[in-house]
Symmetry: C2
Subunit: 128 residues, 2 copies
């Protein structure tokens, strides 16, 4: 293994299993724990420095993009389920209806910490 | 902070600063340390379970997608530079020309560990 490009060996990454282009994650179905479809992944939000996925943006409702709403879900409340080929979240439709969401024209500023806190607090997820 | 959704408090995420939709990372310029443009981000490869960005796929050369080649770059060799609004890598054009790359029709299987090892070894980057 060469090490000539000035890269430190810290922070090794897991290669192989489960790797996929982010653009191909979009469209993946999201189910509740009863197996009902709640929506699908519209996009993911990543840290452009740390390279961690922070939110999956789930689209919920709507038809052909009309009236569609986007729910940012903290990444660590989603579990990938191989059998269903999609993500599972332990949420009810009622919980989603009360959750932070936005329409396309009101796209949040992901760099706004107050917004991130509001989302993570709703789902009881830690942050710093 | 409620914690009713069965989510553990482990693995807190950094919210706010630098967060962006993955789809909007695409198109970001990649420069060498002399400030020359090498290409742009075409997509990122993430772990669909661990939510870590593993590779930035840099497109290099080509014109309107014709003859374009894709270089998977291990995420941790890229540094985001606020001033240039893009990523910087310590690579020469010659190093890129010898690097693992593919044309669109030969899209790699990102779950193939041997391929990941080949890429990471080329750049001297750790993996497991």
């Amino acid at each position: 293994m060469s090490s000539t490009l000035g890269t430190s060996m810290q922070d090794p990454v897991q290669i192989g299993a489960d790797a996929i282009e982010a653009s191909r994650v979009n469209g993946t179905k999201v189910y509740n724990t009863d197996g009902d479809s709640l929506g699908h992944i519209h996009d993911v939000v990543i840290g452009k420095r740390d390279g961690h996925v922070k939110y999956a943006i789930m689209s919920f409702g709507g038809f052909l993009g009309i009236g569609e709403e986007y729910h940012p879900l903290p990444w660590n409340i989603l579990k990938y389920d191989e059998r269903q080929g999609g993500y599972v979240v332990g949420l009810t439709v009622e919980q989603l209806q009360g959750a932070p969401r936005y329409a396309e024209r009101d796209r949040p500023n992901w760099e706004d910490e107050a917004y991130g806190r509001r989302v993570n607090d709703y789902y009881g997820v830690g942050y710093y």
